[in-house]
Symmetry: C2
Subunit: 318 residues, 2 copies
């Protein structure tokens, strides 16, 4: 299922998706190097990696070229999941997205070239589509106007990877994720609502009008989607893009209702108003994932179940 991957380095491997991917690769018999600077990554997510004979952990930054080149030794594949994932506050630190997403990807690609590692799976985002005219949005949607610095930096990183495929014979598979939910979920609306309701179950403030429609995917399905796509692109020079999401959307208010019910809360919901929660928020995210489904992949968990599983995980791990 992991194709020809024998030893994989995962940047951001101590994070939510990264640590789930690490556990899955180890279970598949793949050697794993978790590479993380632990700015947001968590040691407690790496219990499985640290206790596995095939698991390695390197605490270092992607911008530390020396550490990176050493860690890449013997690897055949990189899953690049490290990123500044703070979409919402991008405008407050306008250089951060470019530096931590675009430039870091460029540095990583150079280190890979030096180390002779030429396969990368890259975690991009559905936010590259800005506010698309076409919904569900396919991978070859009309070239969008970016609405967030996060989206702009992800487009830059995608483009840099593709130029390496074209110019240096790299294999690059880009994953444009919807929001991911599940075990080890650490930031996003579910945790915000969960904490707010745990603090005060009687009321809840929701950014925007609550009718923003979003897609969520369970992290196990996300990892399976990544491995399915990687296995389909073994050739040097291959550059491919896959949307990774479900066929469903839920409104923010629906999501609130699911969370509140699980917690036995009946909050008065106060909307801040406007069709976007913040500048750059997309009022509607629904990706056309037929390209990935055509490879035999499909999500196993419906969205409401993914939300519930996330809440349950937060209950025992908060």
């Amino acid at each position: 299922m992991s194709g020809a991957v024998q030893r994989a380095l995962i940047t951001g491997g101590a994070g939510f998706i990264g640590s789930n991917l690490a556990d899955r690769l180890l279970a598949d018999g793949v050697q794993v190097v978790v590479y993380d600077n632990f700015s947001t990554g968590r040691h407690e997510f790496l219990e499985g990696v640290l206790t596995h004979p095939y698991g390695d952990v390197v605490k270092a930054d992607v911008l530390d070229g020396k550490a990176l080149r050493e860690a890449l030794e013997g690897c055949d594949t990189v899953f690049h999941l490290q990123a500044n994932a703070d979409v919402r506050h991008g405008l407050e630190h306008p250089r951060r997205d470019l530096e931590q997403n675009a430039l870091a990807t460029s540095e990583l690609l150079e280190a890979m070239r030096d180390a002779g590692v030429t396969r990368m799976g890259f975690a991009s985002s559905g936010s590259v589509y800005g506010e698309p005219d076409l919904v569900p949005t396919p991978e070859d949607a009309p070239m969008p106007i970016q609405t967030s610095l996060y989206g702009a930096s992800k487009v830059a990183a995608e483009g840099t990877l593709h130029a390496y495929c074209h110019g240096f014979g790299f294999t690059g598979v880009v994953f444009r994720f919807v929001s991911i939910l599940g075990e080890r979920y650490t930031h996003g609306h579910v945790i915000d609502f969960y904490r707010a309701l745990r603090a005060d179950p009687s009321r809840l403030r929701v950014l925007g009008d609550g009718r923003q429609r979003k897609s969520y995917l369970y992290v196990g399905d996300c990892v399976q989607g990544m491995l399915t796509a990687m296995a389909a692109h073994p050739e040097p020079g291959d550059a491919a893009v896959y949307n990774v999401g479900t066929n469903e959307t839920v409104t923010v208010d629906d999501s609130v209702a699911i969370i509140a019910q699980r917690l036995g809360a009946s909050p008065v919901v106060e909307h801040t108003g406007g069709k976007r929660g913040w500048p750059g928020d997309s009022p509607l995210i629904l990706l056309d994932c037929r390209k990935l489904r055509a490879l035999g992949w499909s999500p196993t968990l419906p969205t409401d179940q993914a939300v519930l599983r996330t809440v349950d995980w937060l209950e025992t791990n908060a």
Copy 2:
């Protein structure tokens, strides 16, 4: 014709397109600040600016935030033409495009925000389309796979500008140029061929198979196109993209024939082979420019005339 522009700062204003734009704006009664680090810009292109009462020149780098903020004082519009324009050798210095195109644009936007200057015309490139499926290629072509680091860095800069329009109420007009020809042309295939034929008129080496089809636009038409589009977007928060080119293509071999004939040369042409001149070269560039034409703009000079005018300028200024 320059819309509401009263005082414009032009990054890269001592370069080919920038200095032509500066002269045109001054002729239109606009105050002009040429901002250039003179790494490739030329003093001799600024005779008109230096002798004009409304013309200012600041020698500084776009990454010099202090100089930039001072130079922006009193300006209402920025034309951002500074760039690393070395498309062909991008793979030899993989960080340069991101730094000099994407990061520099980000720094400039921040300086503009501090200075309260919120209108930018940005010189992007048709190379953002990679190798498009759709030709002539419209602005909303299917989201492409990037084939050059230059294209990836321009997409990043475009996206950053658009995020500033969305988040900070900037007005951003993006120009996706074809190759530009005319007076003060300083790099590209015409000068390469011109120099080679002046050195040895009996033979000429051409990268690729010579059948790459390109579009060229005369610099006067390019400047007119920029001003036309800027005038059409006065509103804060406006983000627009315009292709700027002609309806024609010429093959590289055609271009060689025009240049050789003008120089009275009959070279034996040797092709290095392959449908691309270099990795990231696009075998066919033809942009759909109906959006800009709908504003009343159209090129005045056919491609062959633009090539000849360039050769004639090189003859008297080489």
